[in-house]
């Protein structure tokens, strides 16, 4: 007995449900930067999907940059936010200065990765939050698939921050069902005419996105409302490497 052969229409339907194809309308949060939104398949961050972020190196600074990137995205959504952590080292004033109000955020501390993912899933199934953020170290493909399934159909964006593992290998070697995967690295910022620091600069890499090509871009850190910006090009004088470093007088 031969198995029934599915028709082309059924196959297309199956592909569409698997792919989340473009015919369906997804809620999207655009970044507001044409260079960035134009290169993203959805025109922004899809709000009913899972996205992964990671810092560049094994160090701490890029991890903080990834946190601020996430905070900037979430600041531009409206509604309560659930942030699942493994350890209590977040500094709320920093998130506030990226636009994320502390009264919106509910923090949950989980003991291990499995509990953290379960907490994220609970938040996604609640269907009333604006964003669910989790910081995990190692996430298997099946768990990301569950998160993606839980996120679909609602307006809650799931953002997974991969903390650097101790042995320092790339967290992106593990496959994942996330719609986009980002890597944030620090870049030298542009000097400012006054004695001080301008906004921080990042090298934002979209390693993989569903339905589009990877790309990278230099952006400035989010301002008080969580908006990213492109670094302004200095027309008059380029940064001279042999100059004495700019100093600040307090």
């Amino acid at each position: 007995m031969s198995l029934p052969v599915p028709s082309i229409a059924e196959l297309r339907e199956t592909l569409r449900t698997l792919d989340g194809g473009g015919s369906r309308e997804h809620p999207v949060l655009p970044f507001g930067l044409d260079l960035l939104d134009g290169r993203l398949a959805d025109g922004g961050i899809r709000l009913d999907a899972l996205h992964e972020m990671v810092g560049q190196g094994a160090g701490w600074g890029d991890d903080a940059a990834a946190v601020l990137f996430i905070a900037g995205i979430v600041a531009r959504t409206t509604g309560p936010v659930l942030w699942a952590v493994r350890s209590r080292d977040l500094f709320a004033p920093g998130l506030y200065q990226a636009g994320l109000d502390p009264s919106r955020v509910l923090y949950a501390e989980a003991r291990d990765d499995a509990e953290l993912l379960a907490v994220m899933e609970d938040g996604l199934r609640h269907r009333g939050l604006a964003a669910v953020i989790g910081e995990a170290k190692r996430v298997a493909m099946a768990s990301t698939r569950r998160l993606q399934l839980a996120a679909e159909g609602g307006r809650t964006v799931a953002l997974l921050l991969k903390r650097p593992a101790r042995d320092g290998d790339d967290p992106f070697t593990v496959p994942s069902a996330a719609v986009t995967r980002w890597r944030v690295a620090s870049a030298p910022s542009l000097p400012v005419p006054w004695d001080g620091l301008g906004p921080a600069c990042w090298r934002l890499q979209c390693i993989r996105q569903r339905g589009g090509d990877p790309f990278e871009l230099n952006v400035e850190a989010p301002d008080e409302a969580g908006r990213l910006a492109l670094p302004a090009r200095l027309v008059d004088r380029p940064v001279a490497a042999d100059r004495a470093p700019a100093r600040a007088v307090g």
Binding site: G59, W60, G61, D62, D63, A64, V67, L68, A71, G79, P80, L82, D89, L90, F91, A92, P93, G94, L95, Y96, Q97, A98, P102, S103, V105, L106, Y107, A108, E109, A110, R111, E115, A118, V119, D122, G123, H126, G128, L129, S186, A187, P188, S189, P191, D195, G196, L197, A200, C201, E224, P245, A246, R247, A248, V249, G250
Partner: protein
Amino acid sequence: MRRIERRHAPSAEADSRALYEALGAEAAAERAQHCSVPKEGGWRPGARWARSDLAGSGLADTREEVEAAIGTMPHHQRPPQRELGRTSVAANNPFRKGLSRPPEERVAPPSPLRELSRRTEAAEPLFRPGTRGWMGEDLQSAIDALPAHQRPRSGELSRKSEVIDHPFRPMPSDEVKPSLAQRAALPPLQFPGEDAPAKAKRGAALRGEAKRDRYRNDAPPAPLSLARAAALPPVHGPGEDVLVRRAMKSPRRSARDGHGGEAGYIAPPSLAQLAAMPAVQFPGEGPHPDNHGKSAPTAPTYGQGRFFQTGRTLGSVVGRVCRDEGMPAEPLYVPPEEPPLVTARKTGSRVEVAAVNPAARALGLTPGIALTMARAQVPGLEVRDADPEGDAADLRRLAELLARRWAPCVAISDADGLFIDLTGVAHLHGGEARFARRLLRLLARRGVTARIAVADSAGAAWALARYGANGPVTLAQPGAQREAVSLLPVAALRLDGAALELLARLGVDRVGQLLAMPRAPLVRRFGQAIALRLDQALDDAPEPLDPVIPPAAIVVEQRFAEPIASPEAIEHWLGELMPRLCRALAEAGQGARAVELVAARVDGVPQRLHLGFARPTRNAAHLLRLALRRIEEIEPGYGIDAMALRVRRADPLAPESLAPALADETAPDLAPLVDTLANRIGMARLWRFAPVESDVPERSQTQVPALDPPAPQVPAMKPDDVRRLDAREPDHPWHPRWPRPARLLRRPEQIDHVIAELPDQPPRRFTWRGKSHRIVRAEGPERIAGEWWRRTAERLAVRDYFRVEDEAGDRFWLYRRGDGLRSETGDLRWFMHAR
């Protein structure tokens, strides 16, 4: 003499050099011994000097060995005299209190006043008069061997011996005439403290002088003969026995002596003096028994002065003499150990006493007087705030308890009374009297004093309970309440204050007088209420009671014909029970806060599952989801016979609207989410951050619970409040003017190899976690000073924060301790606080 000394001078030098070398040899030997003796050379278990062989095995047993060991020790390590007889004692606890406090808190506690006047005693007389005196290193080593508090001052070292007559020598006239032999046995010289120390040992009064110890030089005195005992005066007061009186006969001068007698013994005023003193006095009036016959109390230091606090006051004495009608006939029993306690409440601008306890009532305080007057009357009064809501809640709880088990109809009559309807109930308790007694016992077990009156009508019962004259239980005969009520004062009818005052002015005191008057003019004068009250008291008018209904617990139960054991069956029945429970909750108008699932197993071990919710809820789907998540905790065993869902805790919940989507976009309800998360990880791991007005970064955020309780009502400012002048909103504590990082290190880590110009330049390079960074751009310093009002240690501390960026673009937030100008603000170390 001097010439001889000069000739011996070179030999003195040789001697000193020999001594010096000997000292050096000693030091070398001692270093070789690995001397581990502390400076005092005290004994502790395993001390090296006490061991016979210094290689360290076994302790020295005999005295000679010990002395030989001491002899071999250098002078400064020899233990003092008093250590030699000491048995082994544990060393000091290294973690004793007082060592771990910060330096500014190491202040000696204030010594009690009694200690300040006490003389310290020398343990061993250093200087015996008549000795040659010590010189040179003997003296120095002996002084060093003493503990610090016993070392003599420099002025004493050159003192010559003197003979002092010690003040404790007993007067020869009081002693039994010592025979010549006894007198010769007395040593010629005595030293202070040797005969009778300033501090008597324990039991000295009882022991008398019979026991000889090392403080005494005399032989024990002759025992008490009959003739001497007869000559002694009779016993004065309780507790005085012959020995004590004997000790008091000799005038001992002690530091606590006021007037030549032993401290503590003061002659009470004689009978004539007592008769001369009136009982009632005003301050400054004259001699008082409490002042020992004097007008004013003398200074209390030397044993004179107020001997007891009688607690007698004007108010109490007057109250005892003139008893007014409101007070009970016989004084209430005052338990002796209870202090007087009153509760106070604020009525208008006056703080008055709301309730008094029997001890306070015995002292003359009644409810209704001003608190200041009560405090003036009784100095040691305990005052607590009156809590009318708590009292009402307690009364309601008592009413519910009685309604469950004692009588079906229980109503609350007023703030401190209950009506119990005994129709058809009294025989169940064995009669009315028995019922009343059992109720009194129940209440007494709970610490409540009660008065119970049983009568035909509620009004009469109320009147008899409060104004009845006999005992705590009053039983009016079935038809005889008219006579019973007639004797009561008019306040026994529940009339308002104006009516009572008018009646008092008219001279109407008793209810009987009211009953005798014609009704019509009464009603015309006082209104309908008085007639109603009179009729209610006589059972002519009905008085319906509003009974208190005890709350019934909400339980839904399902029994099974056959025991179920499979998880699908349990899930199915949970799905059946939850909607039933929610319907029951809806009927009661409640939402569940805690629900317990009890699965009764075949073998009798019930499985319990507790579910808790942050907000009251009766959403069946939500409850079911939470219960199903934890269904694995139920072990069916051989099977489950019955499942019951009990509501353990419920709060009133208003009916919820069916279509919230029809209304405008409201904030999504986070309570179910919090419940779900709390049931998974616990409420302790859910929090929000709240800003704190503090510059110190670690303190500028605080964790608050996830679901905030309703904010307390902040009273609005009056229109002329001065705070209205400041119309500008204060800055948010996390204003972006002061940039902050996103993640903070748990503790600031020190960074090394920092090159920075002082006082206000950022570093040019540093090394952190092994990696070296060169700074390209920086901003700062932001000076954060310590909060002196929180901790005194922070008073001068200063941190200068810099935001720096290195060549690769990494940003760091680091600080330097200290402002660079003054050293007390910090030690100029650099720390990394955040990235």
